[in-house]
Symmetry: C2
Subunit: 355 residues, 2 copies
C-alpha cells in the first residue's frame, strides 16, 4: 500500500495472546487478534485513529447504536502466501462499500488514508495471526457505530469507526441446504438492503431460525413484493448453474453488491463460462430442477468464499441437486483462492500487499 502522512496513535499489547489460541479449532468470529483500531468522529471530524490492545470499551446505555441500529460494517480477509507475505483481496471495494453503506445510514464517510493506514498497521503488528494454509485467513471487520448519547430518533453527531480482526478457518465446511423465501423478506425497495447496515442482519435471525428448525441451513431471499425472484442469501450472493450457463441476480437497492460475486463474474468471463446477470425467477429454477437442468447452486461471499448448496426447499417440496463432475463452484473457489494466496498471476490487480 502507499504510505501516507497520517500518524496513528499506537499502544502495543504488553504481551501476545497468540499462544492461547488453538488455530485448528477456531469458531468463526470468536477469537480476536491482539490489536484493534478505533477512530472517533466528533466536532464534525474524524480524530486520529488509535491502535490499542483488543478489549472492552465503555459506552453509555443511551448511545444511539443501541437504540437505532445506526451502524454499518464490512468483512474482508488477509491471506498469507508461502513466503510469509500478507495480502488483501480487493480492499478498495470494501473501502468504497463501507462509505456507500455509511451514506445510506447518515454516517459520515471515513477517509481513505485512515482506512488503509490502519489496516496496514494492524496487519503488520498482528502478522503472526495470519496463518498460512488453505482456508486460513485473518478476517477483518471494519465497522462504524453511532456513539452520541441520547435517545432521540435522529442521526448521531458522534461515531466510532473500528477495525477488529479474527483468525479464521473455512467458514462452512460442508454443503448447505437452503429454502427459497415465500413469507419473510430481507429488504424493501427503497430500503437499506444494498448497505451492510447492522439491522439487515439481525432481522434475518428469526426466519433463519425457523428454517434451521426444518433442517435447512440458510434462506435464499426473494424480492419482498412478489417473492418471485431469487436475490441473495444472508451473507452471500447466489449463483445458479442451468445447463452450462451461470445465472445470478443483478444488483439493485435490496442486494449487497458482493466482492466475491463480482470477482466470480469476471473469472467466469476469463474462463469462457457464459454468465447471465438477469432477474432469476423462482419458477425458472424450480422448472430447471425438475427437468434435471439445474446443475448447481452456490453461494459466494468473503466469509464463506464459495459454498455448495446441495438442495433447496420451495413450496413445501425439497429438491435435491445432483452431484456432478467438475462443478463450477469448486473451480471458482480454487481460482479465487489461487489469487488470494498469491499462488498464480493476478491479471486484474486484485491483490494488494498488506505492508
Amino acid at each position: 500500500m502507499n504510505s501516507t502522512n497520517i500518524e496513528l496513535d499506537i499502544t502495543k499489547a504488553a504481551s501476545s495472546k497468540i499462544d492461547q489460541v488453538d488455530f485448528d479449532n477456531l469458531q468463526f468470529g470468536k477469537v480476536n487478534a491482539d490489536h484493534m483500531m478505533y477512530c472517533d468522529y466528533k466536532d464534525g471530524e474524524w480524530q486520529t485513529p488509535k491502535i490499542v490492545p483488543y478489549g472492552p470499551m465503555e459506552f453509555e446505555p443511551s448511545a444511539k447504536v443501541f437504540h437505532y441500529g445506526q451502524a454499518v460494517f464490512e468483512g474482508m480477509k488477509a491471506f498469507k502466501d508461502e513466503n510469509d507475505e500478507v495480502w488483501l483481496f480487493r480492499p478498495d471495494q470494501n473501502f468504497e462499500r463501507i462509505n456507500k453503506s455509511s451514506k445510506r445510514m447518515a454516517i459520515p464517510e471515513f477517509p481513505k488514508d485512515y482506512f488503509f493506514e490502519s489496516l496496514k498497521t494492524l496487519l503488520e503488528l498482528d502478522k503472526d495471526w495470519v496463518k498460512k494454509g488453505e482456508g486460513n485467513s485473518l478476517y477483518l471487520r471494519p465497522f462504524v457505530i453511532a456513539t452520541e448519547n441520547g435517545v432521540s430518533a435522529s442521526e448521531s453527531d458522534e461515531y466510532r469507526f473500528m477495525i477488529i480482526t479474527c483468525p479464521a478457518q473455512a467458514y462452512y465446511n460442508k454443503p448447505i441446504k437452503v429454502i427459497f423465501a415465500q413469507e419473510y423478506s430481507r429488504a424493501a425497495d427503497g430500503g437499506v438492503g444494498y448497505a451492510k447496515a447492522a439491522g439487515n442482519y439481525g432481522a434475518q435471525f428469526y426466519p433463519t431460525k425457523l428454517a434451521k428448525a426444518k433442517g435447512l441451513d440458510q434462506i435464499i431471499w426473494t424480492d419482498a413484493s412478489s417473492h418471485e425472484y431469487l436475490e441473495e442469501a444472508g451473507t452471500m450472493n447466489i449463483f445458479f448453474r442451468v445447463g452450462d450457463k451461470l445465472l445470478t441476480a443483478p444488483t439493485n437497492d435490496r442486494i449487497l453488491d458482493g466482492v466475491t460475486r463480482k470477482s466470480i463474474i469476471q473469472l467466469a468471463k476469463d474462463n469462457g463460462v457464459e454468465v447471465v446477470v438477469e432477474k432469476v425467477s423462482v419458477k425458472e429454477i424450480v422448472n430447471a430442477a425438475k427437468k434435471g437442468e439445474l446443475k448447481e447452486i452456490f453461494g459466494a461471499g468473503t466469509a464463506a468464499t464459495v459454498v455448495r448448496v446441495d438442495g433447496f426447499e420451495y413450496d413445501g417440496t425439497y429438491h435435491d441437486l445432483p452431484t456432478i463432475n467438475e462443478p463450477y463452484g469448486t473451480f471458482f473457489k480454487k481460482a479465487l483462492q489461487d489469487i488470494q494466496y498469491n499462488r498464480v498471476e493476478d491479471p486484474h490487480g486484485w491483490t494488494m500487499k498488506a505492508f
Copy 2:
C-alpha cells in the same frame, strides 16, 4: 402494580444529580435520571434484574449488537398528578409489544414480573424526576441488546435488557411539515416494520435528512411496493381528517401498532367521531386536499403525544392545510393527557399507579 416475589438487586446512587438539571430546558432524551435497570440473559435464562446508578458500561467491540442490530426498544412515559402520585399509561401494551418485537428479532422474551417490578422500583427511587405540569413526564426507555461477543451472523446467546429514563417536556412544540414518501421506504412486507427493532430507525435518518434539507420535518412512509398508501411516520402513527371522518391505516407487518393510535381510535368512538381504519391512499388524500375536504393531519405517538401537521409535500407540490376551529388533534391530545395526568375518570382502565 401488583407486588411479586422477585427480588431486585439494588445499588442506590450515592447522591442525586437532579439539582444540576434545568427542567425548563430539556433536550429530549439527553438527560438521564439517577438510576437504571439492567438484566442479563445468559445460560438460557434472565438473571436477577439490577438497579444501579445510571452510567457507562463495558462492552466488547465484538458484541453482536454493534454488528447485527439485534436490538429492540420501547418508549413509555410516567406522569405525575396534582397529588404527587406517579402514573403509567397502558404499560401492559408496551410490555407485550417489546416481547413481540423481541420474538421477531430472535431475542428471548422478558418475564412480566421482572418488567413491572423494575419499573416500579425505578420510578419509586427516581420519583422526584417525574415533574408535574402539562407536557412534563419521565420518558422510560426499555431496550434489549445482543451482548454475545463474536462476529458471526447468527442470533446472540447473551442479551442485556435495560431500562433507562429521561425527564421530558413536550417533544415537538410546533406543527410540522411532512412529505409523502415516493422513493425511500421504511419497511418491507415480511420484514420487521411492525417491531420496534433498532435498525428500522437508523434506516430512516438519511431520507429524513434529505427531507429536512427541503424544509420538511418528517416523512410519511408509504407501502414499499407501490408508494400508493400512507402508513405512518418515523415515530408516530398518522391520522387524516377528511370532512368529519378520521382515517388511519390498519396495522400490518410494516406498521408499528401504536398505543397512542389505538387509544385515539377508542377515544374517537367514545366521543362519536367516525373512524375509518382502512388503507389510506395518497390519491384520496391529495384529492381531498385539493377540494378543501382535508381538514387535518396529525401524528400520534408516546414521545410526541399528538402533533399537528400543517402541510405536506407530494410529487413536488406543497399542500397547506387549513387552520380550523376545534381540531380533532387538539381534542384528542387533551383527552389523552387528562387521562394520563389523572385529571378525569379513566373508563378503560388505561392508567396504572406506578408504585
